[in-house]
Symmetry: none
Subunit: 190 residues, 4 copies
DNA sequence: AATGAATGAGCTTTCATTCAT
DNA sequence: GATGAATGAAAGCTCATTCAT
């Protein structure tokens, strides 16, 4: 098992356990056991539990951007690109409920708040979505609202819908997914 | 200090600490200290920590419904009632950031999931919002989507906006609040 | 409710609870509740929990001696008196399983050890049984063994049998009871 | 200090403390301190306090059976074997007062009751003593009484005598020990 | 590099006892 | 006398992290 392998084993074991049990019911010892390494080994690859958690999120964020960028209709109308992003996001979450549950927990925790703060106050590169919104604002296609609000209108309901699906409160299908994304578009378009 | 006072001291101390630090970083000992009572006293009023947490939520839920019902424009058009609900909710959250953060944590936790399950699977009475949606569906004023989706489209962005305001990522004012609620209306109306 | 009544209510409540749950699972608060008095009231009648426990034992000891003395065949042969004592004891225990369980717990605890120490080192009056043994020794009817040993040979198996009956490991009837007592007599007689 | 050493340190520390103070006055913290390990370490070797207690008993039971089996006069008359068992038991207890007091407490507790229930209702293998009694019953050498009664007649007084010796109420010597065991034999033989 | 036993501070909860009313 | 709310010291147990091997 190579160095990278071990790191990944730990990362996935932690992702799985935390998704299922929550941050506080996923002891490092259990993560180690699930990953097939010793408890001490985790600390070779991650500074501490917080660091491990943030690294998992970072990894998942990468996956999500990759999912969005796949077949991204660059150059096509804003609405079309918006729908693509929504579909990619929901598609990703619905086939990866474990990842979704991790992300949900992360967002809703001190980690997530820090992360969001970094995002809004520019410690991160401007992303695809921000660019899309800014373009839409410039072209007066979408409502003149602050970016965080546009983001909330676009993705908040989408995430809630995924959660309700994963918790089996509702049953999402392609039609419904598209209706939701269209509704989000209705919320932000002029 | 009367009997009721102590219960309330504990309830508010717990609300405050949990809002600020999270469930797992608000030890009973600290709650007791903040409330100005001994650790054992908490257990005279609440069965255990879980019970305390659920009681706080229950109390806050009462506040929220009271806020919504205040000046509720009964008999007025659906859109008007919808806007009232949105305004009441955001109004309540923005003057009670602590309560907001508690509720957010609660919703996003096993407690909240249980609570939501009860709501959707009928262990709770039909509420004002459900009635409003059903009326709107009947009159073909709002989109034909499942209730949880309508709920997500209506309140998801609203909550996200409150959070961003409370975390000082954005600055909400009355104009912006109304724009958000109108956008939510655009999302659900036909 | 008179003063004496309250004391007795507490005493019986404690007896019942301790018999069923054990010393450490019979909180003073529960005893008070069962007795229909307040927690503080217990401390008017008993110095503390230890004192309460010792008083219960003392009370039960009185009952037992009374049971033994009832129809005691004073003046009859030693063997007859021995059999009477055994029958009285077992009879008492079998109709009072709660009392039995309390006594068993008491005997087998620091309380019981202290109590036994007092008995052997003469802080208590010489009792009926001791007198019987001494008479038997003098008359060379029973084996020349120390009193505690004679006591053990006579009553140990009897208590064990009661316990096994109460725990439903065996089913005692009059025949069996008499066989046991006779066997005990065989153990101590010359 | 090897792995096994630590487990044994804990086991012996717990045995000692519980023997002296009782289950409820032997906190895990004190056991750890006595054993020279940290509180958490105990839980590496024992699931919880109950488990620790049961493991100690199991260990002592092993010792006792070993003591009985040592020089066991297999094939010799029942009476001789009976005397051997009695002598072995008392011998073991008298040189191991701590073990004795632990066992006494264990027997007289929910643990012991469960253990006894298992024994009588067949969850354990038939043991040497049961075999001896059954043989004696078949050969009509010992009284026709249920096994638990024979057991009580044989070992009850023996245990009581050991307790009185350990508590220094009496002073056992070889002569007296043999007299007691002979008396027990008198109790069960026809 | 990897191990995993050991640590010990920290958690939630209980309960004998007190004392203001 | 009686109350019962309040106390606070302990209890059993967990787990992130370290470090000798």
């Amino acid at each position: 098992m190579s160095k990278t392998d071990k790191r990944e084993m730990v990362l996935h074991a932690a992702l799985e356990l935390i998704a299922e049990k929550g941050f506080h019911d996923a002891p490092m010892a259990t993560i180690a056991e699930t990953a097939g390494v010793s408890a001490g080994t985790i600390y070779r690859y991650f500074e501490n539990k917080d660091d491990l958690i943030r690294e998992i999120y970072s990894y998942l964020e990468g996956n999500i951007w990759a999912a969005i960028k796949k077949n991204y209709p660059e150059g096509r109308p804003i609405r079309e690109r918006f729908l693509h992003i929504g579909q990619s996001l929901m598609g990703y979450f619905l086939v990866s409920p474990m990842e979704f549950r991790f992300i949900e927990q992360f967002q809703n925790s001190p980690y997530g708040v820090d992360c969001r703060r970094d995002k809004f106050f520019g410690k991160k590169d401007k992303d695809l979505v921000t660019e899309l919104f800014e373009e839409g604002l410039n072209q007066q296609i979408i409502k003149d609202l602050p970016l965080p609000i546009l983001s909330a209108l676009s993705f908040g309901p989408l995430i809630d819908a995924c959660r309700d699906h994963i918790l089996q409160f509702i049953e999402l299908d392609d039609t419904l997914i598209n209706q939701i994304i269209e509704a989000n578009w209705d919320a932000i378009r002029r």
